[in-house]
Amino acid sequence: MPKEKFDILESTCVPLPLQNVDTDQIIPARFLSATSREGFGNNLFRDWRYKKTGEKNSDFVLNNPVYSGKVLVAGKNFGCGSSREHAVWAIYDYGFRAVVSSFFADIFMNNALNNGLLPIIIPEALLSKLHNLILEEPSTKVKIDLDKQTFTIVPTGDSVMFSINSYKKECLLKGLDDIDFLLSMKELITAYETKKVR
C-alpha cells in the first residue's frame, strides 16, 4: 500500500543512548502472535517500559514526560538481532517517524525504509553531542530534510548530509510502493525465469 509521504520533519527528540539495542527489546517475542500490523506501539520496549508488576518504570525514557517527539535518537548498532518487522511497526505505531544512530543493523534498516520510518546515520561524535544536548535541554529540535538529505540540530546549526539510496528516497518522498513497482516488472521477471531454465 502507498505509504505516508516523508519530506521535511522538524521535531524534538527522545534520547536512547544505549548500544546494540536488539529487536527483542524493541518488541519482545511474546507479542508477535498477532496477524495484523497494528497496535504494536503499546508494547514498544515493553520490558524496559513496564515493571514486572505491570506498572510503568519511571526510569525509562519513554515514561519521562520531559522527552517527546517524532525522532528517536538511538545508540550504535540499533535494531540488531531478529528480522521481525514488528519492531519497526511498534516504533512507527508509537509515533516516531525517524530513528537516528551512528549505524543500524541491516535488516532493521531495510524494514524501516519499507515502512516509512526514516533511518538516519550520522557520525558517532555528532550522535554523542546530540545525546548530551537533548539530555541537557529536552526542547532541542532537529530538522530532517529528505529531499536535500540533510540532518540539522536546530539550536546549534550542526548539519550533516545523510545517505539513502535513490530508489528508496523516491519511494518515501512520493509515497510509492515496492509491490506496485515489482508487479510492473512481471514480464521482465518471467523472461528471467525462462532464460534461467534454459
Binding site: Q25, A29, S83, E85, N111, M185, I189
Partner: protein, 472 residues
C-alpha cells in the same frame, strides 16, 4: 573477466534488473515461510486482490510458537493457534506446500529446509527470519528479510535489495579438544562484536572450516547474523555433495550428479578481492560461553569477564552485567546453573544431540537443573530413536520434548523464569529472549551437557575422554 567472489557469482546470476543508483531486483529461488512473519504479508496480497506469483518456490512450516509437548492435542494458546491456523489457510488458498504442526516432516524452518533437500548450492534463499543465514552452509546466498519483503517475494518472486559488501573470514589450523563450530563462531563474534560484520556478506574458508561437517557448517553460518553480517556462505565441496547424495530425495533435481558437476564451479576466483579480510588460527579457540546480553559478549569457558571497558561502551556493558547478576573480573566456571536448553536452528540437528549424548552417557542429570531437550525436527527426533540416543537421554534422567523453536525465543510455554540461569545452545542471549528476566549463557552442546550433569558451568573438556575429540 574481473575475478569474482562466490557471492558475486550467485548474486549477479540472480539480478533481474538493476535500479539506477539504487538496489537490485533480485530473483529468489527458494522462499521459506513460517507462522509468525507471514500473515501480514498474505493480508497485503488479499488487500491487492492478487495471488502468490510462484507458489511452488515457497515452502512453509509452523515452528516458532508451537508447543513441544502433547503435539497430538490442539494448541492451547489461542493467539498461537490462530497464527498456525492462519498459516495453514494461507498455504491452502495459495497452493503452498506446508510441513505444518503435526506433519511427519515438521520442524524448524532452517532444519527441515536442508534435510528435505530444498536448500541447494547456488540458490538465492530468503525467509522472514534472521537465521536464514544457516543455508549459506550449502554455498547459497541466504538471508533474513522483513514481512514487507516476504510480501514482495510472494507477489513477484523478487525482492529489491542493495548489494552488500564482501568479507572473508579464514580459519586455518586444527581446533582443540571440545571445540565445535559453535565455539568458532562465538569466538569470532567476541573478537569483532555484534555489529562487526554489518553491511557485509561473509565467506568462511580455511582448513578448519573445510573440515567441518554440514551440520557444523550450518551452526557457523546460522550465527553469522549475530555479528551483523547479511549472511554467511561456504563454498560447496565433497562434504556438501555427499550430504546431498545421502538425502532421501532432492526435489526438483532430475540428475543430482549432473547438478553437482555444475555446483563444483561455485568457488571464489583465486584473485577475487574482498572489502574486508579476517584471519583466525583455529588452535587459539577454546570452548566458549557468553556472559552478557549480546552474542558478542563471549569468552573462553575458563576465562574471566573483562575488568575494564572502554568508556563509550561502559553504560551498555554495566547494564548487561547487572542484568546477568555478574561482576567485572569474575570467573564463570563453577557458577550454578538452573536450566539447560539444547535445540534451535543453531544446534538442533542430529550431530548436536549426539554430542550432548557423548557427555551424558552413563552419567546423571544434576538435580538442580531443568533440561529442555528439543529436537529441531521430526526427522531429527526419529534419528535419535533409531540411533538409541533416546535411551541414553532417558537413562541419564533427561526427557526429550517434541520439535519446535521452543526456548530459543520462548514464544511458546518453554520459558526460563526470571533471574534463572540457562546454558543454552541457541543463538541469542538478549535480555528476556528466553522469557522475561531470563539469564542466558550461550554455548555448544558439549558445554551444555557438562552443565547439565554437574549443575554448574563446567569445562566440557574434562568430560571428553575418547580420541575423536574434534568433531561434534
Amino acid at each position: 573477466m574481473k575475478p569474482k567472489t562466490l557471492f558475486d557469482k550467485i548474486w549477479d546470476n540472480h539480478v533481474v534488473r538493476s535500479v539506477e543508483n539504487g538496489p537490485d531486483v533480485l530473483y529468489i529461488d527458494r522462499h521459506y515461510i513460517h507462522e509468525v512473519t507471514s500473515p501480514q504479508a498474505f493480508n497485503g496480497l488479499k488487500e491487492r486482490n492478487i495471488q502468490v506469483f510462484r507458489p511452488g518456490n515457497t515452502i512453509a512450516t509452523a515452528d516458532h510458537n508451537i508447543p513441544t509437548i502433547n503435539q497430538h492435542l490442539p494448541i492451547s494458546n489461542e493467539l498461537s493457534r490462530n497464527q498456525v491456523d492462519t498459516l495453514s489457510e494461507n498455504c491452502r488458498n495459495n497452493g503452498i506446500e506446508l510441513f505444518g504442526y503435526n506433519h511427519p516432516k515438521n520442524g524448524i524452518v532452517h532444519v527441515i529446509g536442508p534435510e528435505l533437500g530444498y536448500t541447494l548450492p547456488g540458490m538465492t534463499i530468503v525467509c522472514g527470519d534472521s537465521h536464514t543465514s544457516t543455508h549459506g552452509a550449502f554455498g547459497t546466498i541466504a538471508f533474513g528479510i522483513g514481512t514487507s519483503e516476504v510480501e514482495m517475494v510472494l507477489a513477484s518472486q523478487c525482492i529489491i535489495q542493495p548489494k552488500p559488501k564482501k568479507m572473508r573470514i579464514t580459519v586455518n589450523g586444527v581446533t582443540g579438544k571440545g571445540v565445535t563450530s559453535k565455539d568458532i563462531i562465538l569466538y569470532i563474534i567476541s573478537e569483532i562484536s555484534t555489529g562487526g560484520a554489518t553491511g557485509h556478506f561473509v565467506e568462511f574458508t580455511g582448513s578448519a572450516i573445510k573440515s567441518l561437517s554440514m551440520e557444523a557448517r550450518m551452526t557457523l553460518c546460522n550465527m553469522s547474523i549475530e555479528m551483523g553480517a547479511r549472511g554467511g556462505i561456504i563454498a560447496p565441496d565433497e562434504i556438501t555433495f555427499n550430504y546431498l547424495r545421502q538425502l532421501p530425495s532432492v526435489p526438483g533435481v532430475k540428475n543430482l550428479e549432473a547438478s553437482i558437476s555444475v555446483w563444483k564451479k561455485l568457488q571464489s576466483d583465486a584473485d577475487a578481492t574482498f572489502d574486508r579480510e579476517l584471519e583466525i588460527e583455529a588452535s587459539s579457540i577454546s570452548p566458549m560461553i557468553t556472559y552478557g546480553t549480546n552474542p558478542g559478549m563471549g569468552m573462553a569457558i575458563d576465562g574471566t569477564i573483562p575488568g575494564t571497558i572502554d568508556k563509550k561502551n561502559e553504560t551498555s556493558f554495566l547494564k548487561a552485567l547487572n542484568y546477568m547478576g555478574f561482576k567485572q573480573g569474575m570467573k564463570l566456571l563453577g557458577q550454578p546453573v538452573d536450566y539447560v536448553f539444547i535445540g534451535s536452528c543453531t544446534n538442533g540437528r542430529i550431530e548436536d544431540f549426539r554430542a550432548f549424548a557423548r557427555i551424558i552417557k552413563g552419567r546423571k542429570k544434576a538435580d538442580n537443573v531443568t533440561a529442555l531437550i528439543v529436537p529441531g525436527s521430526k526427522n531429527v527426533e526419529r534419528q535419535m530413536s533409531d540411533e538409541g540416543l533416546m535411551e541414553i537421554y532417558k537413562n541419564a534422567g533427561f526427557e526429550v520434548r517434541q520439535p519446535g523453536c521452543s526456548s530459543c525465543l520462548a514464544m511458546n510455554e518453554d520459558k526460563i523464569p526470571a533471574g534463572k540461569y540457562a546454558v543454552s545452545t541457541s543463538n541469542r542471549n538478549f535480555e528476556g529472549r528466553q522469557g522475561p528476566g531470563a539469564r542466558t549463557l550461550l554455548a555448544s552442546p558439549f558445554t551444555a551437557a557438562a552443565a547439565a550433569i554437574t549443575g554448574r558451568i563446567s569445562d566440557p573438556r574434562e568430560f571428553i575422554t575418547d580420541m575423536k575429540n574434534n568433531k561434534k
